[in-house]
Amino acid sequence: MTAIVRSNPRGHWALWALIVVIGTISLGVVALSRGEGINAAWLVVAAVCVYLIAYRFYALFIAEKVLQLDPARLTPAQRHNDGLDYVPTNKYVLFGHHFAAIAGAGPLVGPVLAAQMGYLPGTLWILAGVVFAGAVQDMIVLFMSTRRDGRSLGDMIRSEMGPVAGGIALVGVLLIMIILLAVLALVVVKALAGSPWGTFAVVSTIPIAMLMGVYCRFIRPGKIGEMSAIGFVLLMSALVYGRTVSETPELAVLFNWKGETLALAIIGYGFVASVLPVWLLLAPRDYLSTFLKIGTICLLAIGIMIVQPDLKMPAITKFIDGTGPVWSGSLFPFLFITIACGAVSGFHSLIASGTTPKMIENENQIRLIGYGGMLMESFVAIMALIAATVIEPGVYFAMNSPAGLIGTTVGQASQVISGWGFAVTPEMLAQMAKDVGESTVLSRAGGAPTLAVGMAHILSGMFGGQALMGVWYHFAILFEALFILTTVDAGTRVARFMIQDMIGSVIPAFKNTESWTNNLVGSALSVMCWGYFLYQGVIDPLGGINTLWPLFGISNQMLAGIALTLCTVVLFKMKRQAYAWVTLVPTSWLLACTLTAGMQKLVHPSPRIGFIAHAQVFGDALAQGKILAPAKTIEEMSRIVFNDYVDAALSAAFIAVVLAMVFYGVVSIWKALGTSRVTTVEVGAPVGSGVAHA
């Protein structure tokens, strides 16, 4: 198509004018319609037009003017080509690799939670966030790493902003890792508690993965395709058989686990998976979850196009004032914290400075892979938002509100929720549970079950109707649980290596990752860190997600703030400060969001938002010997108070990390302005400047 466009400039501009017109109309419909639900297709078209325009114009501007990508410059893949880590790779193949690495559970959960404010605030933030912040960050970090032999974010911060800044950033990364693992594991616990069908299917993935691991290691070494096909068939059998398990009382009781049991099981599992050799459990499960993830995303996209469901959630709900049941806090800053991945995700800066820059064939592909990859992830977030808003708002709130607010029976729940203005009957809630093959859908917070209901709604509209609703629901749960648990495995290992590295700088013997003692101690420490927050979340009266998701959002956006600060520093050091607004604007916005949210979580006077205020309410009651619900004993009371202070300390740590990075950023920019030379530390000059081909 580009060839046609290039040979016919008038047609080119007519095409773009048309895209702008269609985009404006769709966005207008999405933004302005009130009352009657709109068709999801409007949202899809609006998003796609925004992405196309942003990619064609803004990303091109960044590529040509801001970064001045140089197609003649050798990339790390060319300079260090070893056929293994550094391989010049076709841009579409690499796009797939990069997208598979950045897409995870984040863009699926955040938008679902944000739907409590209606579909409009989330949509606008996802679109504006990705165009001006998320995709910009991914692209510029990828650019920086490509010009530095594929070095990591931490290394780049160290070399551009100094060793202290690098060290602080690493601590920040470890903190976000711990919170990420805890919150994702909590999503799984919330989805599987009291669900024999789902639990059976997810537990089955362990023997299935081990079988695949043995197959691919010994029986047919390296046959990824065969192994994945076998795994997929077994997985689908487990999914279908799960219904029988849930309908057979003797079997169901074996897989009907409470939240606490599930949490301990996942913690134990994380430890074992981190200690075992990767080929046995982690790798095969990773393969299966990667393919399933990509397949399901495509399936959902096709489903939305074909079924074109109506959005039932209002454009804006009254909960923008901060009184929402799903998470507490007002639109600013908490909406921008709740939706991190899909709009802007700091985590991507670790991936854009990981394996991807080592495989780029040519600098001029950085726009497609960095900016384009993030647009794709944003589209996943839009689909998740659609899935959450096509279900009845009353059902949505029943699924996502904590039991402390809506009670534990369909009667109580429908009464409370109808009182909020979202009509729902006990029969509707009971029917929904029956349709999806669960005993109840109440208070299944965490995003995954809601998304599963939404996906089941869309996919069963395409195949199978009501009869297959239960299978689709559990398919969606399985798909999310599978790749979340893969993240938990891999993340536990990464956190273990980071902990070993940090402790190893004091006790050098601990650095050796081959040692079994180190392996066991490191894995135990790593699991305990996130396990603590997971367990705390499971027993949290407000459902845990309420507490942990904002902490995760703050930490993820904090990391994005750090990455964008680095981007800004590098632009100044490259003497491109005329264009520094490209990163300064999103940096400032993220700093404003994370700092405000962090401060509010710390000192907000309302105990629903501020950790210290909450600790004080419980602490005062404790001092008078009173017990406040949901605590049942004095010990539980003291534990709640203690946990509040831990969370408060964590918020304070995030704020401190952000402020420290801003300080070092300002110092670096000041120094850069004081000299007339370019002061970046790049490697690999353009062709012909005397740099040898490695």
């Binding site: 076709n90 797939g96 990420l180 070494p221 790798a283 995700s345 670790l350 394996t355 290596f497």
Partner: protein, 66 residues
């Protein structure tokens, strides 16, 4: 080079790289050109090497997103 690969060929290559296994033939071709006198890993060795690298820290190891 390989427009001879066809859509399926490219899709398979992309799927394999998604799980961290780059193209083996490219590796072999590269080794033949750059180190013709050294031994080339068999596919099985290559697969194991890549699998270990994907989950180790520092070398090819990587973070994973939310």
């Amino acid at each position: 080079m390989p427009d001879t690969l066809g859509i399926t060929g490219w899709a398979v290559r992309a799927a394999r790289l998604m799980v961290g296994v780059p193209d083996y033939d490219t590796y072999v071709a590269h080794r033949r050109v750059t180190h013709p006198d050294e031994a080339v890993m068999t596919y099985e060795e290559f697969f194991r090497e890549r699998q270990d690298a994907r989950y180790s820290f520092g070398k090819g190891g990587r973070f994973r997103c939310c």
